[in-house]
């Protein structure tokens, strides 16, 4: 029996996101038409073309290597990509499909990263690691970058099993307290001259949404008084080119909003270690209220009175069960940030803005 009952991302999904991070222009899912359907939609919103070999019953029995090779040829003709990812699924990998051989048969001009993972390969990070390893083998990314990311992903897996999504047998979706309650708590501290410390421990593109909390707090402080201090893992010199771009975009927009960071705790793909650095900084900065957003369970020893902001309703349940009371969910962040090139407005920050406009 599984020790974690609730649905969660699998290695196929993680491999697809990682291929996107490496700027694959097309991802071919070798499996049934519905496999990876939801993640494919999101990736297409981010500009990645996702196609499927649409395996059928006959393909399960007789194999579908030729079908994959033909799909790759069609991808070449139709989209002329420079980099293509091929991702296995349960159906294709369990029957032993040889992705490498199909890629060789197709004879594409583009570089191809075949990732032989499926839904039962283990933790979702297994898919990401496999994609990185193949990419490094084929010279798409440097070996050192693969080693660094593999270390981060291993830490992330441990983090999730210790304190995150896989730390409890079952987590139910929970939407936490209202944005109004959380915004009022922040507003009250600022309006009485207090100091709000905001920590962004972002994960890749999700930071485009979570960073709006920093802007909302700053706009409140500008209107109501008090002081706001910010920490964020927005190092623009860490990670793959795409991830660095996310950090640059967000830093640019924060600067425009008058948000200046006290500390940069790491890169946007370093949330397992950036959270530890953030905790160290938090302990050295006086504050009346802590607001943490992003992957907040990566920040150890958080004050149970802190305001937490998460895009994951199951994580909200996790935090509430761990004794936090003021937990807010922004469940539509992921859908809204795909393809973004600047900070995307979120409901908590907009609520703060409305309260700030009303004055003290």
């Amino acid at each position: 029996m599984s020790d974690v009952l609730h649905p969660r991302p699998n290695p196929i999904v993680a491999a697809m996101y990682t291929l996107r991070d490496m700027d694959a222009e097309v991802i071919v899912v070798h499996g049934p038409a519905g496999c990876g359907f939801m993640v494919s939609r999101r990736l297409e919103d981010a500009g990645v073309r996702v196609v499927t070999t649409g395996m059928k019953e006959n393909d399960l029995i007789f194999g579908a290597e030729e079908k994959l090779a033909e799909t790759l040829r069609l991808v070449q003709d139709r989209f002329s990509p420079g980099l293509v990812g091929v991702v296995g699924t349960c159906a294709s990998m369990i029957i032993g499909e040889n992705l490498d051989r199909a890629v060789q048969k197709a004879g594409l001009k583009a570089k191809v990263i075949p990732v032989d993972v499926h839904g039962c390969s283990g933790a979702n990070t297994t898919g990401a690691i496999r994609a990185l390893e193949v990419a490094a083998e084929r010279g798409v990314i440097p070996q050192e970058e693969m080693f660094r990311q593999r270390e981060m992903l291993t830490r992330a897996t441990l983090l999730e099993s210790n304190r995150g999504l896989t730390s409890k047998e079952h987590l139910s979706p929970n939407y936490g307290v209202t944005k109004y309650s959380a915004a009022r708590r922040i507003r009250d501290v600022l309006a009485t001259g207090g100091r709000v410390l905001v920590v962004l421990n972002g994960k890749k593109e999700l930071a485009y949404g979570h960073a709006d909390v920093l802007r909302g707090v700053q706009e409140s402080a500008d209107a109501l008084g008090g002081e706001a201090v910010y920490l964020a893992n927005l190092d623009p010199g860490v990670g793959l080119p795409r991830i660095r771009r996310y950090a640059r975009d967000i830093l640019r927009d924060l600067e425009c909003a008058g948000v200046y960071l006290e500390h940069i705790t790491g890169g946007l793909d370093e949330y397992p270690v950036a959270g530890i650095r953030a905790a160290e900084a938090v302990s050295e900065i006086d504050h009346d209220l802590l607001v943490a957003c992003g992957i907040v369970h990566a920040i150890p020893n958080l004050d149970r009175k802190a305001v937490l902001v998460s895009d994951q309703p199951r994580e909200v349940d996790n935090y509430l069960r761990d004794g936090f009371a003021m937990v807010v969910s922004e469940p539509d962040i992921h859908a809204r940030v795909m393809g973004a090139s600047g900070i995307v407005r979120m409901e908590l920050a907009d609520t703060l803005r409305e309260m700030a406009a009303e004055g003290k």
Partner: protein, 263 residues
């Protein structure tokens, strides 16, 4: 409708035994089906005068016109070969699942007297267990010789049957003329909690008839060998004793064989 599955180690002679049992039942006037589940699809050839028939999965793959054409063999025996992928690709187990579901849906509206499933090798995955799932065969026989590896495979198959909760009707000894073979197979059968249902001697008529594209029952109907197959078929039809087997420790099996074959 009696539904019988025959399992056994690869190369032990399952298909020869199965085809001759089907031929024996057919000549006695029963309406019998032979369903070959081996991707090689060669088990029915001796029932069809040496002809290799189109497989169900090949027809399904090619999507040709009309329904799959069942082979009409010796004395009206109906033959079907499931078929499967080329070696090294796809999933033969899945093929068996799909083919048997279609067989049940499209061909057994007017049930025959006996269906005999000839299943390759060990129960290597869920697909190869399909013939003994609910709604298909409820009688299992395991073909073996008195050799260690053959009995070892029979024991493994019995382990699979126990796992599936399926009763085994007995072991069938297809002789390789090893020392004390009859005793060895009967002893192992007893240890497994079943019995030796029949003994098929080794004879060159089997090879000669196969070369001629016939079963022994058809090609050498008056031979002792044909009589052995007929006796086996009769034993199967009259058998009503089935037990979920108790697999044995391979070391125990080896020790028993050593004892029996000691000079």
């Amino acid at each position: 409708m009696r539904q019988i599955a025959i399992y056994g180690k690869g190369g032990i002679g399952k298909s020869t035994v199965a085809a001759n049992v089907v031929a024996s039942m057919a000549e006695s006037g029963l309406r019998v089906w032979y369903v070959g589940c081996d991707p090689k699809a060669d088990g029915s050839m001796t029932l069809l005068g040496g002809r290799k028939m189109e497989t169900f999965l090949d027809r399904m793959k090619d999507g040709g016109p009309g329904e799959y054409e069942v082979g009409l063999g010796f004395r009206g025996a109906m033959c079907m070969e499931v078929g499967g992928p080329l070696a090294g690709v796809g999933c033969a187990g899945r093929g068996i699942i799909v083919a048997l579901q279609a067989l049940k849906r499209d061909h057994f509206r007017d049930p025959p007297d006996v269906v005999l499933y000839d299943v390759p090798g060990d129960v290597v995955c869920g697909g190869f267990a399909t013939p003994v799932r609910q709604g298909f065969a409820d009688e299992v026989y395991v073909v073996t010789s008195g050799e260690y590896l053959s009995l070892y495979a029979a024991n493994n198959i019995c382990r699979g049957m126990r796992n599936l909760g399926v009763g085994v009707g007995g072991l069938i000894c297809n002789s390789r003329e090893v020392m004390n073979e009859r005793d060895a197979v009967a002893s192992v059968a007893g240890m497994l909690g079943t019995k030796m249902l029949g003994f098929v001697p080794r004879h060159r008529s089997v090879r000669d008839c196969e070369n001629a594209g016939r079963t022994v029952v058809e090609g050498a109907p008056d031979s002792e060998q044909a009589r052995a197959y007929r006796e086996l078929a009769a034993a199967m039809l009259s058998n009503s004793s089935f037990a979920v087997p108790q697999p044995i420790d391979p070391a125990e099996l080896r020790s028993m064989l050593k004892e029996l074959t000691a000079e």
